[in-house]
Subunit: 390 residues, 2 copies
Amino acid sequence: MLAFDRQEYLDRIENVKLRMMQFGLDVLIVSDPANMNYLTGYDGWSFYTPQAVVVALAQDEPLCVVRGIDLNGAKVTTFLEEANLIGYPDDYVQSKRKHPMDFLAEVLEARGLGRGNIGLEMDSYYFTAASAEALYQQLRSATFKNAHTLVNWIRVIKSPAELEYMRQAARILENVMTVAIDAVEPGVRQCDAVAKILAAQASGTADFGGDYTSIVPMLPTGIGTSTPHLTWSDKPFVKGEATILELAGCRRRYHCPQARTVFLGKPPQKLVDAAKVVVEGLNTVINVAAPGLTCEEVEGMWRAVISKAGIKKDSRMGYSVGLNYPPDWGEHTISLRPGDKTVLQPDMTIHLMPGIWEDDWGIEISECIHLTENGAVPLANTPRELIVKD
Amino acid sequence: MLAFDRQEYLDRIENVKLRMMQFGLDVLIVSDPANMNYLTGYDGWSFYTPQAVVVALAQDEPLCVVRGIDLNGAKVTTFLEEANLIGYPDDYVQSKRKHPMDFLAEVLEARGLGRGNIGLEMDSYYFTAASAEALYQQLRSATFKNAHTLVNWIRVIKSPAELEYMRQAARILENVMTVAIDAVEPGVRQCDAVAKILAAQASGTADFGGDYTSIVPMLPTGIGTSTPHLTWSDKPFVKGEATILELAGCRRRYHCPQARTVFLGKPPQKLVDAAKVVVEGLNTVINVAAPGLTCEEVEGMWRAVISKAGIKKDSRMGYSVGLNYPPDWGEHTISLRPGDKTVLQPDMTIHLMPGIWEDDWGIEISECIHLTENGAVPLANTPRELIVKD
């Protein structure tokens, strides 16, 4: 059931421990489900109750602490010894009197890990303000530090096995996008197009199945294209309107996202012009992005192309992607925007997302790339253009 | 686009303000996406960046503060005046130097709302420890209080319009469960069964479409049935094994969940016996649950039935459901378990979830009920039994 060799997990844990030493951490409490999976293999839709993987310099293996009913899930999906899998009683769940992080604190105390410098992923979705308060209250002799995205930054460089999953996700995505473009037709209900998209995402290919994507299909249509994060309704698609498709393929929790814009009928000239500029900017970035450049340098190349055409975009034009759980497939590390001085390195995977959202219209044509020593290689092979169905 | 009349939103906001007065709060920062939707209509997959609805006693309308690129989404989906919709610049997103909650603090200061008693949803998924820290740092003259699940507790009682969405969700669910039971066959890949389930969830019925569910289809199979939260793989279903289907229909973000267990072949006697007990316990609860009883009293009736049969269950046997976003369709209020002394009231909607998970097998047969003045009415009409496909 493990997605990777045991040794790959051990290497990742070693990398985390090295960073922990650099940051002066004795213990790291990992709450981000993608980071938990990355370090142990743990995989389940259980992140809706508090849980954590604990990495300690003093321990070879991490601990995995989950709700009691998820303990068998940890046995099935992780490589950890059973002694390191711990379930908390169900009366900790959504209780006013006690918090699952109180239980975690007890576990840490019992193993001598409740003191020293403890790192917390302070801005991880499922590490709430109450989770932090509980730990502060229970572990009075510990010193807490914000570990930020320590593990996420290790995830930024993909291993060969991870890249293989990314390529499989790209194969799934190619099917998904083809299905989606076919499905968007005047008179078809948005929800019925989504039904086909979701089915293609799950079925994957004949060789390997698809996994759930961390973001559901986005398909803003009509005036909805002026904003990126609207989901579907049961209204039909309308001739004379654009629909943005932002979709992904997912394989063993690895994502290959992509956006395309479909116009039903004859598109207005401003959309045709915008598409031309967006594709030119995107192609420029794909052609020149290379290890050694910084994120802001790459963004600058994109900005130069669109500025010439009089288009302004304030939001970032790309971010690191890979292993993830809802609500986001982005890794919260690299952003292609001014001020991000991260130097690009081989085996990063980046979603180049040059979306333009104006007052009452918008366009997205995006590409997910694998950065190799020789430059950017798009993972999926979908025509890079405004799709016109007239 | 609004799911409810403007007046219904205004009534909800009034209810929140009454509770705020009881709790001594001047301002409430609402981060839970379901609560944001409940109070304003806001609907978008944008909760992966920090955002909030702010209710202040001193203001008629709430504020809705989202990422800049989601501002048009707020215009399209909420009933609020444009002056109360505020977007933050994109360089706040996943930045090491500043946090979106810094921006929110500035907005509050500018409107004179940055002081007094400010309530925070301390254990809401998307209100991270870092979000709280940012507010503490920026608003030094405010007194922060944990507002817990103040808005969630108002959501517990459903309005007639909400109940109508719940019933529509139940119609969708009935289709979904039928499709799912059909799809689970020896040799069929799990991912291909899920493809059909997801398609049925999105398509809904001919009269109304389905929405994405807050939890993806759960279908632990074989030894996986010993734990509830495993998702699918691309392995085929196997004759001689059980599969648990925990699925929902969703309509305008309102959920009707249900679980059934399917056995391929001739089921072992222990599964047949367990099913009989679970169904008997479930039927008992459906027959006797009524306004005026407490949650723990209802759970006790279930416990009495299964104890006679020698089955023990430590996890709660039900919880409140309705409007929600990933990762959970539960409302984090009522739990049917010992110690929960909440008195049941008319128009609560509760997922009775008597799952049994043993060392290497498990069973789930669940039902979502509408509690009326005359007792419990199951929302969906699916045969309540172990499904045997021999």
